[in-house]
Symmetry: C4
Subunit: 213 residues, 4 copies
């Protein structure tokens, strides 16, 4: 199994999932008893915010997925199924986003459950990434192996990422909006972060580095 078809399939899933996000934005058609379009769009603000955050989260996952996969030398069945595990949660993002969009403004327990679901999907996705990363550290699967002292640095970042989602899930039980802000900050952080997380360490040997030398 060569890497290119793994990438093509994953890119397809990312592209469909990111495009399906906008299906949640649909407004009701004109008709007696329906609110004005402007009022509908305004009361839809959680849907637009959720669209924005989920769009960039999927975009970030796509970028990081690409960097991580490029560092991998041999694609075997274990990797394929870990990749499927990652995609399992990516495919759930439009569903979790739609649920947040509908329930965030409702407040109360429902809003908290929606945000816990949203955080849980990202936690699962993060676990999939961690699984792929751990796998590639073993058995000569990378183009150039990371020095052992950097493994823990990389893991710390991974565990750190996953921990933020755990925090967001716990916070959701008390304040759905605060939990939403935490996940939005993760998206903003990754957009402006210039030192790519662990995958990029792994990638640099055969990435820009190999071209530069």
């Amino acid at each position: 199994m060569d890497r290119s078809r793994l990438e093509a399939f994953s890119d397809g899933v990312f592209a469909v999932a990111i495009t399906l996000l906008a299906l949640n934005l649909a407004v009701a058609g004109p008709g007696p008893g329906h609110p004005r379009l402007l009022d509908q769009l305004q009361s839809h603000w959680p849907a637009f915010v959720a669209y924005l955050i989920s769009f960039f989260m999927i975009g970030i996952i796509w970028v990081n997925h690409h960097v991580l996969v490029r560092s991998i030398k041999a694609v075997d069945r274990t990797l394929l199924f870990l990749n499927l595990l990652l995609l399992l949660f990516v495919v759930l993002i439009p569903f979790a986003t739609a649920t947040v969009a509908e329930y965030l403004a409702a407040g109360g327990q429902d809003a908290g459950v929606a945000m816990a679901l949203y955080g849980g999907v990202f936690l699962g996705m993060s676990a999939g990434f961690a699984g792929i990363f751990e796998l590639t550290l073993h058995g000569e699967r990378m183009h150039r192996s990371l020095p052992a002292e950097r493994h823990w640095e990389a893991r710390r970042r991974f565990v750190g990422g996953g921990l933020v989602y755990v925090v967001a899930i716990v916070v959701a039980l008390f304040s759905a909006v605060a939990s939403f802000v935490i996940i939005a900050l993760v998206a903003v952080y990754y957009i402006f972060e210039r030192t790519p997380a662990p995958p990029a360490d792994a990638d640099s040997p055969d990435g820009t580095g190999s071209q530069g030398n």
Copy 2:
């Protein structure tokens, strides 16, 4: 017709089908008379289980499709249409999954019909695979031909796979849940199976084997 576009089109279909699976999970929005979100999610358990199983089934089909296609040397119109036959059933998986998700908890005859439909879609998919495999055995279509004594071994595996779906369909008439468990076990089997089924035999010559030698 070169193989790469056959793969690109098939990968596109797999990616869209696997992502559409999550559309079935949608919950009703908040409103008077609607149940709490947590209650909705709990009563949706068949939808989540069906999502999980169908997701990995499509993932497994994708992996096996890739292995089988790689063993093929010449892509002709007969192969293209057998591949379309396989995809015809892959595209039906989200529909069959949605039907199972809605009717499994309803029980009675409806649940059995839903499961028979679900098993039937996998049986059709399995027949598509068998057709492609039989075709590639003839007329010098493989990179390296399988020895004749291995044909039957390979076929036994294929027929075996299809037989499990036949069993699942028959069992569905008596117990929808038991039928569901059988198909779930097929998914689990394929995830952990390390000796890839027939396609991989066919693939080994130019796959890992050619790299190893």
Copy 3:
């Protein structure tokens, strides 16, 4: 503009359109007043037949598109927009299929209008193909030019294809089912046709021919 990205985009559109076809098959969930699942599936027969025909029609268009595009040497903006015209009608196929599925069994004028729409979409698609073919005949756009006496042969086949859709549209005004059968026969014809239509003539120089010689 190189050919590969034209193919990648077109394959993406084909893959999404063919997968969306199955969305029309969805049955109503269980509930008071809803018919049994088996009755729903049986009364849905036009949806299943329409799915089958449209699936193979898109599959055939994909195969022929591939053969035609491979014969093209230079991709310019005119070709890109003719290709978009072809895709414009491909994207309409799931919509036209859903309309036929809903209205064929209703009979009367509505069924005829649905079938005329269905035939019209294929007629438009066919015009897109004819446009691409005519364009490639001019200005040294093919890898090897067709001899002039074969242009008319190729055109006759194209016009012939389009004429069948015109017949199907006219017949739809009298009998929707007869019109449906005509389009089904076109699909069956193309599946079993072994001498590919004009595109394949154009393709043979650098296709199988170049490998064989």
Copy 4:
């Protein structure tokens, strides 16, 4: 990060978005109280016109995106996120198209708001293009740098494109139909325009030019 996966992901998004456009065309099924199919199709004319315009707009964006991306030598994280910004608005096109289709015939303030939304989505998309173009002008990101005097020419075209959308948004406040016509004219202009806009200037060195010389 190599360019090919950026293209593959973007092409996937374009392909899904352009295919989802047709979902808006769905008609109501037959039933008591439902209008005849022919009447439904006729009263749906804004949906068909909106489909046509949005289809070609996405097609044009795809063509121009391809030309622009081909002129880029180095793909870095800044470019990836500018590309995501562009795609963020592309993914919104089916939603904006559906809103226009539903509200254009309604007239009044709602129609104006729908058209302002439609124009706004294209303005955002245009800003994403401008961002990518400005980025590629700096830091040796192009295969061959544009002479400085051509920068302003290119920018004028870009700003000009964006200005048309601003005009369409302002006009929408007075006449939704007039605003619709303006955006339709942009689509027609780009289909027949033979001198590709700035991206093509940037592209020509390694595009047609390099083949011609």
